[in-house]
């Protein structure tokens, strides 16, 4: 009786999963004149390999640091290192990812062959790192708010949960308007509440605000989901526990700290894991709102996997990203198991 469902799971989930692993070790493309070859871990080396280059300010003959018109030191161009194959073979074909100022005016340049991937990886991690605590915390706050015995409280629960049932695609479209630089609602509201002091921002067009804007929207859409999970955790706490706390004269904070929170441990872990998994698969927002821009500031792993595997028909590259993503998710869920097991 389990056969049909198992067969479907195996064909459409497990088989492609192992194919992703296999393909990530080859150089397969969707259409290619050359036969597919086994390339081992090359794809991963290309994506994850970084090299470090320390550059010093240029000196003049007298040993003074050369300054440009604005008084900043002049550095040799990174291009000189990556294109001079003979002197620096290790930097060949690599591009600058980011720079880090060191002491004595030296600068550490991190080079990579696949800067876009590394940006996507960093963005995805950053996205998860910010969204998880913020969304979980806000969701808990809302759950506590909703868990009060107030008349009409269910209306608020219904409203807070509403965005969850709306497609992320629709939500992303809507928030494109809200984030718009010229006529965006957010700018309008900000100006109104700051009495005109606020300077309008093109939220999605700015490298420093695009990712935070997407984070905020994702929290807005998903917080109701986790509120409900918190709520179901809260409602498993027997009323008598609160009554005991009241009789013993606990303040509201003490009640939360010593009665509510300890009972929510497993819910907390579950909420964190679900949010983390959702955060790692950041895709529709990027697809609809920014397509990775501006200047790759909103690239995500899944978006890159799709771009490469599908649009650029680089199946092995896309698969390699998938494998990395899967390993990330796997380690998170193993971590969760570790956390839940510890107590028992």
């Amino acid at each position: 009786m389990a056969l049909p469902a198992c067969l479907l799971v195996f064909t459409f989930l497990i088989l492609p999963f192992f194919m992703a692993f296999g393909l990530s070790l080859t150089n397969q493309r969707l259409v290619s004149p050359n036969p597919t070859e086994f390339v081992g871990l090359d794809n991963f080396k290309k994506m994850l390999g970084v090299s470090f280059l320390i550059i010093e300010p240029e000196m003049d003959e007298a040993g003074h640091i050369k300054l440009d018109n604005e008084g900043n030191p002049i550095y040799p161009r990174v291009r000189n290192f990556t294109r001079n194959q003979e002197d620096f073979p290790q930097f060949y074909k690599k591009r600058e990812w980011f720079q880090l100022g060191l002491q004595d005016g030296k600068v550490l340049v991190v080079l990579s062959q696949d800067v876009v991937f590394l940006k996507a990886l960093a963005n995805t991690m950053l996205f998860a790192l910010v969204v998880c605590p913020v969304q979980a915390g806000l969701a808990l706050f809302l759950a506590l708010l909703i868990n009060q015995p107030l008349r009409g409280i269910n209306i608020f629960r219904t409203i807070y949960f509403a965005p969850v049932v709306i497609s992320m695609v629709v939500v992303s479209m809507l928030w494109r308007f809200i984030y718009d630089g010229q006529n965006g609602l957010l700018n309008t509201l900000m100006q109104m509440f700051s009495f005109g002091l606020f300077e309008p921002i093109d939220w999605l067009g700015n490298t420093s605000t695009a990712l935070p804007a997407i984070m905020a929207m994702s929290v807005w859409q998903g917080v109701g989901f986790h509120m409900v999970i918190w709520l179901s955790g809260l409602q498993t706490i027997p009323l008598s526990h609160y009554e005991v706390a009241r009789i013993e004269g606990a303040t509201r904070w003490q009640t939360f700290r010593y009665v509510t929170w300890p009972s929510l441990r497993n819910t907390a872990i579950l909420v964190m894991v679900i949010i983390t998994m959702q955060a790692f698969t950041l895709y529709p927002q990027i697809q609809v709102m920014t397509r990775g821009g501006p200047l790759d500031s909103t690239q995500s792993l899944v978006f890159q996997a799709v771009i490469r595997g599908y649009e650029k028909q680089d199946i092995s590259g896309g698969s390699a990203i998938s494998v990395i993503l899967f390993l990330l998710v796997l380690s998170i869920s193993l971590f969760q198991r570790y956390l839940t097991r510890e107590k028992n």
Partner: protein, 289 residues
């Protein structure tokens, strides 16, 4: 009620309402804007008029949206794909769960563990290899034999029928059913399929509703990446892909809002009618923790 308690109560409601506005303003904005011509829409959004049905209010955007894209076709496609997937999913996943819980067969534990493990595989990571698979699967349909599943309804349905979450939800529910009932029906002479159909399924109303709602949200709302990859023909496209039509040639924001409203409001109404079940279904995914 003493004054300070009244004040506290008022403050709480104020907070609740203020938060409610944060959650509701984009939706109100969407619906209101869909009724305004573009010029007014843009100028209104620099003031609170954005949330008010004032000025030149008309259903024009809806009419032109229908002209621009075959909306009814897209809605039909989405509903068809989602509906068929839900029906098959409920049937096959509950059947599998039944077998995991009530029957004993060799390798049961291992297979169940493997299925559960797929829970942590994000769909996006297997999309590309899955594309390779469906691209090479034969299909016998009304028009004869095809050697690929690309551009069809079933390519959007079959891969999504069985999933770990649905099977898991049923397994959890079945495990809590009294074992005596199954034994009683075995003594009454029921075959395993009769136990499933006549005893277990009639008792599984709540979990069927839960699984159906979750599946609905997963399907209807997420038809983006996969259809982009496997559907090039207009006639099989679901609603989320319909958005593309509104970005070709002189984009009209009002029309986009109208389209978003058309594809969202039915879901919201559905949600408002069945909100208890919706919320319970999400909550039930949390109980396993």
């Amino acid at each position: 009620m003493p004054a300070h308690k009244l004040l506290g109560m008022a403050l709480r409601y104020l907070l609740l309402i203020w938060i409610a506005m944060i959650f509701i303003f984009p939706i109100v904005f969407m619906v209101i804007s869909s009724l305004k011509p573009d010029l007014q829409l843009l100028s209104d959004s620099s003031s609170l008029r954005a949330f008010l049905p004032v000025g030149d209010i008309s259903p024009t955007n809806y009419l032109s949206a229908f002209d621009r894209a075959p909306i009814l076709l897209f809605i039909f496609n989405s509903v068809l794909i989602t509906g068929i997937t839900i029906v098959f999913s409920l049937f096959l996943c509950s059947l599998a769960a039944f077998s995991f819980v009530f029957l004993s067969w060799r390798g049961q534990g291992v297979i169940f563990a493997i299925i559960l493990a797929t829970f942590i595989v994000p769909f996006e990571t297997i999309a590309v290899p899955l594309l390779l698979i469906v691209n090479n699967l034969p299909w016998i349909g009304l028009e004869g034999i095809k050697n690929s599943w690309i551009n069809s309804y079933h390519v959007q349905i079959i891969p999504f029928i069985a999933d770990a979450l649905t099977i898991f939800l049923f397994v959890q529910y079945f495990r809590d059913l009294p074992k005596d009932l199954i034994e009683a029906s075995r003594i009454d002479g029921a075959t395993w399929f009769q136990v499933y159909r006549r005893v277990i399924m009639p008792l599984s109303g709540p979990i069927i509703a839960t699984a159906a709602i979750l599946k609905f949200l997963m399907m209807y709302n997420n038809q983006l990446l996969w259809p982009i990859m496997v559907v090039q023909e207009e006639s099989y496209r679901p609603v989320m892909l319909g958005l593309q039509y509104f970005f070709q040639l002189n984009t009209q924001w009002g029309e986009i809002m109208a389209y978003l409203t058309i594809i969202t409001i039915p879901v919201l109404i559905f949600y408002l009618l069945l909100q208890k079940a919706f919320i319970a279904s999400i909550a039930s995914t949390g109980i396993k923790g």
